[in-house]
Amino acid sequence: MKEMSQYGMGTWNACFHCGNCTAVCSLTEEGILFPRKEIRALQMGLEDKLATSVEPWLCYYCGDCTETCPRDANPGELMMSVRRWLTAKYDWTGLAGLFYKSLSALIIAFVLVAIGIVAMGFVKDFNSEAVMYFGHILEFYLILTVFTIILIPNILRMFYFTVIKAKVNAPFGSYIAAIGNLITHMFTQVKTLKCDKQTVRWLEHFLLVMGYLGLLVITVFLDWFGTENQIIIYMGYITGGLVFVFTFLLMISRLSKARELNKYSQPTDWFFIIWLFLMGFTAFLVRLFIDIDLLNDHFWIYMVHLIVVSQWGMLLVPFGKWTHFLYRSFAVSFANLKKAALIKKLATAA
């Protein structure tokens, strides 16, 4: 419990289990109950129970529960904190936990990455072609490495915790169906729409994800900064624009705290948004500088972009909030396995 307060707010002690939060939640259903159940596990220090639960990932933080809570225990933020804790739990390297708990460790890591990139630039004499070539290769291998060494093992760990350790005994057919909704949810997050009054938020998020994935494909696989193809260049501008416009909007809402989910921000939340913004924005500027022939005189802008991208790729993607992209989507699948197992169990019992 004390550990959890390092991942977010420590107000759950106030909960006296009236169950309003679970009652008002649009997503909770028979067999998949939250957030009261998770709060209880947390209050009682039932770490295993919490680590094996897939439910926190199913919450999209609409904030209804927090608004209804008579005790101001903030169940919505609690679910957010549990997700941070779970991210750290799934990560076999332990770095995710370290970065969540220690802001200074995170800053040191950021500085180290920046120094590395500047050193590389120094070695290459800040020759624009050499550096950009290196940057392009770096991005490519970074994605490959992070996926194979960090993310895939972590997903397997998540599967181990939430399905195997939780003793979910689902029929084989449901595994195949689960892969289907994995793809859907990863790219659309349609489940958010089941929450009340979340359409605008869903649209913002959807466009941001599309912009981000588009930018990723265009810069890494279609070589936006090197290409002559006009279509790719324009697509790059659009996707880059989407990313920095929507992250800018997100920053404003976090600052104005109008929505329940924006009232409390962990430092890592800010890193995530600001770096996403910087990535879109610097990419946009780099290509703009190329197009108006300013890049050679202002090569620093590419250096900044590369530093931002490296920090993003090496730190925020494998160990930070980015992982929710994977965990949430897999959680929907694993939850379906759980439901299938429940139905099977009830059928056997009957």
């Binding site: 002690n13 106030a14 909960c15 006296f16 039932l46």
Partner: protein
């Protein structure tokens, strides 16, 4: 018929309360045909001012000598209408009420049948009132002294309230000091005032007040007399008998903690570190929370509802234990910041001013609240093994998580129930108050008259009436004081006139009545060989009258003739009603 009776009958609609289920117009019409009924009317609200004026006007215009109102329960408006009769110059006992609301319209669903029943009830009242007699009110003088039994916070508060107004108080306490249970309390919930700071100045005021005479180490045996004129003999600690005379009695004899030794699960008496809430309170007062081994407890568990809310022990809620437990948690958290605190509860009941807020604050102080099943699955405490690194383990199914858990504990505090005093029955007998099933004293009316009892001049306040917190006890004490000061101020009190009288010519002196009287109002006159009713003590319950083998005892206003003719009226249908 010896003489002509002139009866007025009034059927009330009670808005729609009666009129929707009873054809009041028809009832009035039919009853109007009965012999001796001079006038029969229906009206929207008989109890309203115009309703009462209607009766007064009719009495004068039609020269009525008896009035029947068929409306609600006589408990509600009998006095209202008696007063109206008095204003019109009639004796208030020339009145009878037929209850066609609580006994008819509110409980029936067939309008025809309900109307028929209403007619029967009104006809019965008309039959009965024919035999009503004029009765005169009687008053007795009030002795302005008051005896208070119990020197706890309730008794002290009442004593000060009356004593400060200049009236005499005899304050009887069975222990050797004043203060009661509050003297053993450290801080009070929810505002954490020190009990000593509340109590000590009050005790000082009591001992300094010349009007308050305190008798310590004193018990009450028997109290004789009646409202305004009680007397008793007491033997205080010094052994000298004292005779006291007083006009009113306040019983503030308090309650006692339940002995948890009877609950096997908790091992009280066997496990040395299982203690009661009172024992823990003593520790807090001394400022030293330690186990029997003298060590600071690393884990403290507080178990709620010990002996309360369970059919095997007491079924009622002891009312103050939840808040006391939360207070314990607060004091523990301040004294031992690193100790694990477990509140094992059934339900948290934090009603009352400032209490829910106190609960909310407490729950944020890193205290683990664990819920158990109080009805079917009490926690079990057992000695822990060496490897458990604690003294005891408490095992139960935690309801909010559904998990079977074991709670480590080095000290277990049992929030024991509060129950009636051991001598509750003796005191009840001495002063003539009734007890409910769990031996707490019964008030005259649970809502409308919460400190008076069915014995005039005897009041019950504080814990002897039911478990209570300090403000509630003090409120009751002062309420009783206000009631008593009001009667002292008038100087006289009206006593019941519907009492029993003995016809000495017929009385055979068997003394059956003396034995059955629940108010010890009948004594036996050896010289004349007949029973004598003390009319001040008599409540007119009628027990003697119905037991008397010779019919020598007659209950005023409930004579055989009145009752039998009422029954006849009830049994005959209203239309074919025969003259008695």
């Amino acid at each position: 018929m010896e003489e002509e009776k002139r009866i007025g009958v009034y059927v009330c609609w009670c808005g729609t309360n009666i009129a929707k289920m009873v054809d009041v117009v028809d009832v009035a019409k039919e009853i109007g045909k009965l012999p001796n009924v001079v006038i029969a009317k229906d009206y929207k609200y008989m109890c309203s001012d115009p309703g009462q004026e209607l009766i007064i006007k009719d009495i004068k215009e039609h020269n009525l000598d008896r009035v029947v109102v068929s409306a609600c329960s006589p408990r509600i408006h009998e006095l209202t209408f008696r007063k109206a009769l008095q204003n019109a110059g009639l004796n208030p006992y020339m009145f009878e009420m037929a209850n066609i609301r609580e006994q008819v319209s509110w409980v029936h669903t067939d309008r025809g049948e309900a109307t028929r029943k209403a007619k029967s009830l009104v006809a019965a009242a008309v039959n009965r009132i024919t035999w009503h007699e004029s009765l005169d009110k009687r008053t007795v003088d009030i002795n302005p002294a008051t005896m208070i039994i119990g020197g706890g916070i309730a008794g002290i508060s009442a004593a000060l309230e009356i004593g400060n107004s200049g009236r005499k108080i005899f304050l009887i306490e069975k222990e050797n000091k004043l203060g009661g249970h509050l003297a053993g309390v450290d801080l009070t919930f929810p505002y954490m005032y020190s009990a000593d700071q509340i109590l000590k100045p009050l005790i000082k005021q009591v001992t300094n007040n010349p009007n308050i005479e305190v008798f310590l180490n004193t018990q009450i045996d028997e109290v004789f007399g009646y409202v305004g004129n009680f007397e008793t003999k007491i033997t205080p600690g010094d052994g000298k008998e004292v005779e006291l005379k007083f006009g009113n009695v306040i019983v503030a004899s308090g309650l006692k903690p339940y002995d948890p030794g009877g609950i096997e699960n908790y091992g009280y008496g066997k496990l040395p570190n299982v203690i009661t809430s009172l024992e823990f309170e003593q520790m807090l007062k001394k400022g030293k929370i330690v186990t029997k081994e003298g060590a600071e407890p690393k884990n403290v568990a507080i178990i709620h509802c010990v002996g309360s809310r369970n059919k095997d022990y007491h079924e009622y809620c002891s009312r103050i234990c939840c808040m006391t437990a939360l207070k314990f948690s607060n004091q523990l958290r301040s004294a031992l910041p690193d100790t694990n605190i477990f509140e094992c509860y059934a339900d948290i009941r934090s009603f009352g001013k400032g209490c829910e807020e106190f609960y909310a604050q407490t729950s944020r102080k890193d205290i683990m609240f664990l819920m158990f099943d109080q009805k079917n699955d009490l926690p079990r405490i057992r000695k822990a093994e060496t490897m458990d690194e604690c003294d005891m383990l408490i095992e139960f199914n935690e309801l909010l998580s559904g998990e079977d858990i074991e709670v480590p504990a080095d000290m277990v505090v049992l929030m024991v129930a509060l129950e009636a005093q051991e001598n509750a029955r003796d005191i009840a007998h001495a002063v003539g108050v009734s007890m409910c099933g769990n031996e707490f004293y019964i008030e005259r009316h649970p809502k409308l008259d919460p400190v008076a009892t069915t014995t005039d001049g005897v009041y019950v306040v504080g814990g002897c009436q039911s478990p209570k917190d300090i403000p509630d006890s003090i409120s009751q004490a002062r309420a009783a004081a206000a009631r008593i000061l009001a009667t002292i101020n008038i100087g006289q009190v009206e006593v019941e006139v519907t009492t029993a009288v003995v016809n000495e010519d017929i009385c055979c002196g068997c003394q059956t009545c003396v034995n059955v009287c629940p108010y010890t109002a009948i004594s036996f006159d050896e010289e004349k060989g007949v029973s004598v009713v003390n009319e001040v003590l008599c409540k007119g319950c009628g027990t003697c009258g119905s037991t008397c083998p010779t019919g020598a005892i007659r209950s005023r206003h409930f004579t055989d003739k009145q009752i039998l003719s009422q029954i006849e009226g009830l049994m005959s249908t209203s239309i074919e009603l025969q003259e008695v």
